[in-house]
Structure formats: structure tokens, C-alpha cells
């Protein structure tokens, strides 16, 4: 079997079609008896207090940024892994350097306490 990308478009159309149509059908078929209490956000039965979309812990941003940086490094490592056999010893040494730099950053981040949750 040869490589082909065009079937993915068909698959996407089928999946989106199924997803949208089934939700619409169930919206049309189901009963509609809204009342203010039913439509209020769930909070264990009491009246909701304040806005749900409250500000969250700033630490999330730090971890998110770290994640972004490290995840991009993962993506960059893929081509290296695929060509590893052809690159030979040079490729291995390159990777040792890369992992050394990676570890240096990682230890710095760890030492600064960016990975701790208090």
C-alpha cells in the first residue's frame, strides 16, 4: 500500500459529519423543559457563589512555558531518532551534547523550584 494523504480528508469529513449530526439529532429529539434552577451551574444544590472563572495559580503559566519548551525539543529530536542509524557515531555525540544542555536547563529549573507545587 502506498502513502496517501487524501483519505484523511474523507475521514475528517465523516467524523465531523457524524459528530455534528448526532448532537443535532439528539438536541431535536430530546425534551425541552428549561427552568432557571435546572440551567444554573451545579454547586451541590446551593445557589452558585461568585463567578466560576476565577483567576488561577500563576505557577500554571511557568509550568506551561516549560512544557512548551521541552515539548518542542521532543519534536526536534524525532528526525534525529529516525536517522540515527545513518548518522552513526557523530549522531550519538550530537545527542550527548543535546542531552547535556537539556539536563543543564532541567537542573536549573528544578533548583529554582519551578517544578514544586506548594
Amino acid at each position: 500500500m502506498k502513502d496517501a494523504y487524501w483519505p484523511l480528508i474523507l475521514v475528517l469529513l465523516l467524523a465531523v459529519g457524524f459528530g455534528v449530526v448526532a448532537v443535532l439529532m439528539s438536541t431535536l429529539l430530546g425534551p425541552k423543559k428549561p427552568d432557571p434552577i435546572k440551567l444554573s451551574p451545579y454547586e451541590c444544590g446551593v445557589d452558585p457563589v461568585g463567578d466560576a472563572r476565577m483567576p488561577f495559580f500563576v505557577h500554571y503559566y511557568v509550568v506551561a512555558l516549560l512544557f512548551l519548551i521541552f515539548d518542542i525539543e521532543v519534536v526536534f529530536t524525532y528526525p534525529w531518532a529516525v536517522y540515527f542509524k545513518k548518522l552513526g557515531l557523530f549522531g550519538l555525540l550530537e545527542m550527548v551534547v543535546f542531552i547535556a544542555v537539556f539536563l543543564a536547563i532541567f537542573i536549573y529549573v528544578w533548583g529554582r523550584g519551578a517544578l514544586e507545587w506548594e
Binding site: 500500500m1 502506498k2 502513502d3 496517501a4 494523504y5 483519505p7 484523511l8 475521514v11 475528517l12 465523516l14 467524523a15 465531523v16 457524524f18 459528530g19 448526532a22 448532537v23 439529532m25 439528539s26 438536541t27 429529539l29 430530546g30 425534551p31 425541552k32 423543559k33 432557571p36 440551567l39 444554573s40 451551574p41 451545579y42 454547586e43 451541590c44 452558585p48 466560576a52 472563572r53 476565577m54 488561577f56 500554571y60 509550568v63 506551561a64 516549560l66 512544557f67 515539548d71 521532543v74 519534536v75 529530536t77 524525532y78 531518532a81 529516525v82 540515527f84 542509524k85 545513518k86 552513526g88 557515531l89 550519538l92 545527542m95 550527548v96 542531552i99 539536563l103 532541567f106 507545587w117
Partner: protein
Amino acid sequence: MTQELVLVVIKMIVVFAVALLVVAYLTYFERKIIGHMQLRLGPMRVGPHGLLQPIADGLKLFVKEDIVPHDSDRWTFYFAPILNLVCALVLLAVIPFSYNFMVTRLNIGVLYILSLASVGTIALLLAGWSSGSKYPILGGLRSAAQIFSYEIFLGFSIMGVLMISGSLDLVKIVEAQSKVWNIVYQPVAFVVYIIAALGELNRTPFDLPEAETELVAGFHTEYSGFKFAYFFLAEYANMIIVSCMAVILFLGGWKGPVLPGIVWFLIKMCAFFYFFIWVRATFPRYRYDQFMRIGWKIMLPVTLANILVTGIVMMLV
């Protein structure tokens, strides 16, 4: 060209129909197996031994009232479950169930699956945010924290396999395992991959975004009817994907003696289903800071060491 098109459409419909049926019956087997593990019978009422239970559940969810809470962001609220399901279904297109049976073959199959699988988990974040209620938002934030923890070591754990097979093509990865399965060369990577897979599936012990004992139902607290069903379908469809990937990357795909390839593939896949259900019945839930600690401080160095050791051994041999 027309012949090719018809073939693709037929394969696509077969894969989708079988996958949705399998997904429906996975919920049944999960309830049944966990029931028996806890000395209960599980579903028994609908049909013999409750065999028609998934169909009854599906019909019930289909005609339920569709509730959209008034604080929610209406369009995102509808968009999130659809995105989650579409991402899960689209992934099925590239899984090679045997040497010839797949909807399409990509030379970047691994990248395709990893990238779209992570888009699917972002749907949970959207769902939590758009509900406009406190428990879903906490669930969504935890889901974000979870993505940050497992995604990196998930990516690194596959690296050893790619180094051995030298390709991102799923068929070539399986063909490279004709003699010895990758699990023999990469046992550490296999364990790490399974842990990351449990994180990606949001299943116990890493079901932090749902956490029904703390967050009611986490990100899908406000969902009802078929939108709620979508999250379930997507979770179980992702279970199929993750099991297929484990089989392809580590257990030699459709390779096996006597029986035809597709049967071997399905047997190995079912073993993983059983394993995931078994894990759910066995382990308690992790706290989310514990999961982040495992991900960043243990799994990441372990996978890096695994890459280096694999590289050095491949140089020496």
C-alpha cells in the same frame, strides 16, 4: 482512482462502525469485569447477562434533554465534545490492523497520532472552561496540569523504538520487529509508555480531570445527553488507539504464528483493554502534584537515560 476511492470509503466505514461497536461494548465489559472483581455481577437486567445494556444506554442518552447552563459559553460548550470525539475517530484511519488492512498509510504515522491525540485532550480544557461552573473549571485546569506532565515523557519514551526501526511509518515499525519484538530491546520505554498512556486516557490512577469523588465529574459535570456520551465514546476510542499504538510499537503488531495477522492484532489489543480495566479496579487515584512530580522528576530523566543507553548499545552492537 474511482476504485481506490470506493475501497477507502468502504474500509473507512468498516473501521468506524466496528470501532463504535467495540467502544460501546468496552463500556459493558468494563462494568462487567470490575463488577466481578468486586464480587458483584455487573449489569444483568437488559438482555441475557446484560448484553444489550450499551444499546439501551446509547438510546437513553440520545433522547435525553440537552441542558446548556446559562453561564456557559454556548458555542465552545458544543464544540468541545465534538472536537474530542473527532480527534479520537480520525486517529483510527492510520492504524494498520494487518499488513494490508488500514484506511490509509502515512509515512509520518507516529507524528500524526501523537499530534492529534494531544489536540483531543485540549478539548477537555475547553469543556471545563466553557461550562462556567466551578467543578468543571477545576477539572479542566487539572487536565492541563496533566497534559504538561505526561506529554513530554510520552514523546521521549517512543524515541528508542524510532531509533531501532528508523522510520515514523507504523507499517515499517512493525516490519522491523519480524524477529524480536521491541519490548525485548525497550522494556523501560514500554513501562514508561504505558504509564503515559494511562495519563493520556485520564483513567485511574490518573483520572484527575474527572475525579468523581472530589470534583463531582470534573470537566463534564455540566454535560448531559449525547454531548456527555461523546466524552465517553472519545475516552474509549482513545483506549483503542493507545492499545493499538502499544501493540504496534512494542508487541510486534500483527506478527504471530499460525493465526492470521489481524487476529493476532486484535488478541494483543484486547489484552491491553483488559489490563487498563484491571488497573482501574486495582489502584487508587494519584494527587495531581504527585503526578507532576512523577512526570517531571522521575520519568523525564529515565526516558533521557533510556535514549542514551539505546544509542550507545546500538553503536556497540
